[in-house]
Amino acid sequence: MKITISPKAVAKDVLKDASMKKQKEMMAEHFDRLADAGHTGAKVASTFVPGNLNELIMCFDLVNNLPEVNAIQSGMRRQSGAYVMEAEKAGHSEDVCTYVKSDIGMMAKGNIGPNGRKLPSPDVLLLSYTGCFTFMKWFELLREQFKCETIFLQTPYMADGTVTPNMVAYMVKQLKEDVIPKLERVSGVKFDIDRLREYLKKSAQAEDDLVYILQSARNKPSPIDAYFGGIYYIGPIFGAFRGTDDAIDYYRFLRQEVDQRIAAGLGPVTPDGPMEKEKYRLVVEGPPNYTNFRQFWKMFYEEGAVVVASSYTKVGGTYDFGFRHDPSRPLETLAEYCLGVYTNRSLPMRIDMLAAYVEEYEADGLLINSIKSCNSFSAGQLLIMREVEKRTGKPAAFIETDLVDPRYFSAANVKNRLESYFQMVEQKRGGAAKGVAA
């Protein structure tokens, strides 16, 4: 199909897409709710994206504040560099996770949120300890600062690729005997399990649409970019909206838009308009770089590379293998949700998942973006790369950046590596074609 309208015009139209407008409004309202908490008397819970128990938090009328999302926002607004330096000046090591340092630096500099207003101090830290060791220290650091109630919910690691009854029982016990009573105490709201069920029902509805959207990348061309675009798509469900009507609406709109793009044979929407020709289909492992997010993305779409599946869009929940929040087993389902997030999956599970993505999404190969300061993702990625390459026979490549520390984003390096990778893919294709011809 030949597209005759100019990409810029489409971009403008797309900018007005219902889903995008909806998401913007949702985020603005959310940050206002947070900033207004001081006047409205709303209580605030800080928690993490992996293992985010938004439905439970809402049962206590608490507003969900996510330090990781704040760090991402700081990265996107190019403020994280200064924040990281501020934290390092205060004695934090240059070696550790830059999310933590961005958060700490941001607090030191007045704790100003993306809407330019001060973020509130949390009333409770709900440490959902899922898939990353840094979380534990991060919340100890926050507790030192805010001196508020800290609740620890431990998610056992899925080391053997299975969820054992001991794991679920442990989590449910923590929820019943520790997490819920403490949340009741902090919020003054009595726990109502039926309210939780209602939220969970809504979560599952939005999750169905999210999976549909992510799996739409099986189409050729893919109507979405499942990494750069995917980061926007996961925002509401990984953040403060899972279990709300807003999330249901957002994913419904998005699904409709994706359907329209599929019907029109269109590729993903990029900041420069729709991608015209899909040349490469990639699976990406690892978080993105946020300080140069646009520039990073551009290096892909300029070359006609679209990401058809990514592991990062599973950090706040892995839904594409069938898991949905189940209102009939409210506490168990929360436990299983936490257990299943990507970072809580063993390395062999990660390999299986990525190799399966390469096959299912008919990708040209795997690209790993290794984050300098994130051990949870980075340790073992070179083995992941080799194994996926071995199993799929498709080429893999490795680039290195950081999440929110601009010092570790070298555009020239990344671009070089990407270019050689695309050449490798071409060669492989050429080789395969020759093989067929011979």
Partner: protein, 391 residues
């Protein structure tokens, strides 16, 4: 036969330390048909269960500064600590080919991911990530931990082809209680007379317990304490320091020596914590697994790999260690890129600051060769401590 001197004992321990082929453990295994060896990494494993299975728990602590890492570097980016890559090197080069199982305790994301790598790279070897509770209520974390230990017990029963009885477990707890008591005695003796027991010697003596059967190790410690206290060594005008942050990747022996050469007496440290993780004796009566769980929950050491539920208690253990040992300062020395140690450090430092305890910090790698900067820093620190206390 006359009692061995510290020189003899330390020389034997140094041989064990330097032997990257683990000959002693191999010999133990070969001495009797059917014997099994279970490797484990830092920071803590209930070795009693392995011992009760009739197996040898073998501490795997990376390759130190003598191992040439050729393959391991291909598995790790430059911004990840050294211990996983040298451990992989040990595996890939066949140095661990006699090991029947590997345990990867919950300490950090690197070791956690290494547990999965081991499964992929050495699929025929039993490998298990050993999770521990980070919540300390008996009914919650305790129950979970009993479950984890029970699974480990079952796995080892399968590998060993025999039941691990409660009686055997109690017997093992007994020998480890004795070992822990001796190590504590050693640490206390060193804190009192650090000039008699140089830190590098104490390290080697304790480290021997990573490769020897516990009974033989206890004997060595007893001999060393007796020999060290019997020898007369000159007292130097050193400053007394506690070391913090060395609980996983091991510092080069030269680093420990350098600290003493630069004017510091090490009176406490967090090296090889597995040997004294549990504080006090684990009771011998009742359910042994339950007793081990109770000891873990309520009577165990603090370290960065563990969650501290009580803000008031955060870092206090370090202040207590300083008081208990009469130390004058703390040296934070941890491996580069070590998340737990480095993320914890600022919190510990602020506790020390409020307690008026001086400290310095630097990083190392297990294969660091250049000791001059460390010597200078530690020397300046030792001097300044003296100046402060004189003022």
């Amino acid at each position: 036969m006359s009692a061995p001197s510290t020189g003899d004992i330390v020389a034997r321990c140094q041989d064990l330390y330097e032997d990257l082929d683990f000959t002693a453990a191999r010999q133990w295994k070969e001495a009797k048909k059917g014997r099994k060896v279970i490797g484990f990494m830092p920071v803590y494993i209930p070795r009693e269960i392995i011992h009760a299975a009739g197996m040898l728990p073998l501490g795997i602590l990376g390759g130190g500064d003598q191992l040439e890492v050729i393959h391991g570097d291909a598995y790790y980016q430059s911004y990840i600590c050294r211990i996983p890559r040298s451990t992989i090197e040990l595996g890939v080069t066949g140095r661990l080919d006699f090991v029947d199982g590997m345990l990867f305790p919950s300490i950090c994301d690197v070791i956690r991911n290494l547990s999965g790598m081991w499964k992929v790279m050495f699929p025929r070897v039993y490998s298990r990530y050993f999770d521990v509770p980070q919540t300390y209520e008996d009914e919650i974390g305790g129950t979970f931990y009993v479950g984890e230990m029970t699974e480990l017990r079952r796995d080892l029963e399968e590998i060993g082809g025999r039941k691990i009885t409660d009686k055997a477990l109690r017997g093992s707890i007994d020998v480890y209680n004795k070992n822990r008591r001796l190590i504590r005695r050693l640490y206390e003796a060193r804190a009192q007379r650090p000039w008699q027991m140089p830190a590098w010697e104490v390290y080697l003596v304790v480290r021997a317990g990573m490769v020897l059967p516990v009974e033989a190790h206890s004997e060595i410690i007893e001999q060393y304490i007796a020999a060290a206290l019997a020898e007369d060594k000159p007292v130097r005008d050193n400053s007394r320091v506690v070391l913090s942050g060395l609980f996983c990747e091991q510092p080069p022996l030269n680093l420990i020596k350098s600290l003493e050469l630069s004017g510091c007496y090490v009176v406490d440290d967090d090296l090889l914590l597995v040997t004294r993780w549990l504080i006090g004796d684990v009771p011998l009566d009742g359910d042994p697994i339950y007793n081990l769980a109770q000891a873990f929950l309520h009577h165990s050491e603090s370290t960065a790999a563990k969650y501290e539920p009580d803000q008031e208690e955060k870092g206090r253990y370090l202040v207590r260690a300083v008081k208990r040992t009469g130390a004058e300062g703390v040296i934070f020395t941890s491996p580069s890129f070590c998340d737990p140690a480095l993320l914890d450090r600022p919190m510990l430092q602020s506790v020390l600051k409020s307690a008026g305890i001086p400290f310095i910090a630097f990083k190392y790698a297990e294969n660091s060769g250049q000791m001059q900067p460390i010597r200078e820093q530690a020397g300046t620190f030792a001097d300044s401590i003296k100046l402060w206390s004189a003022a």
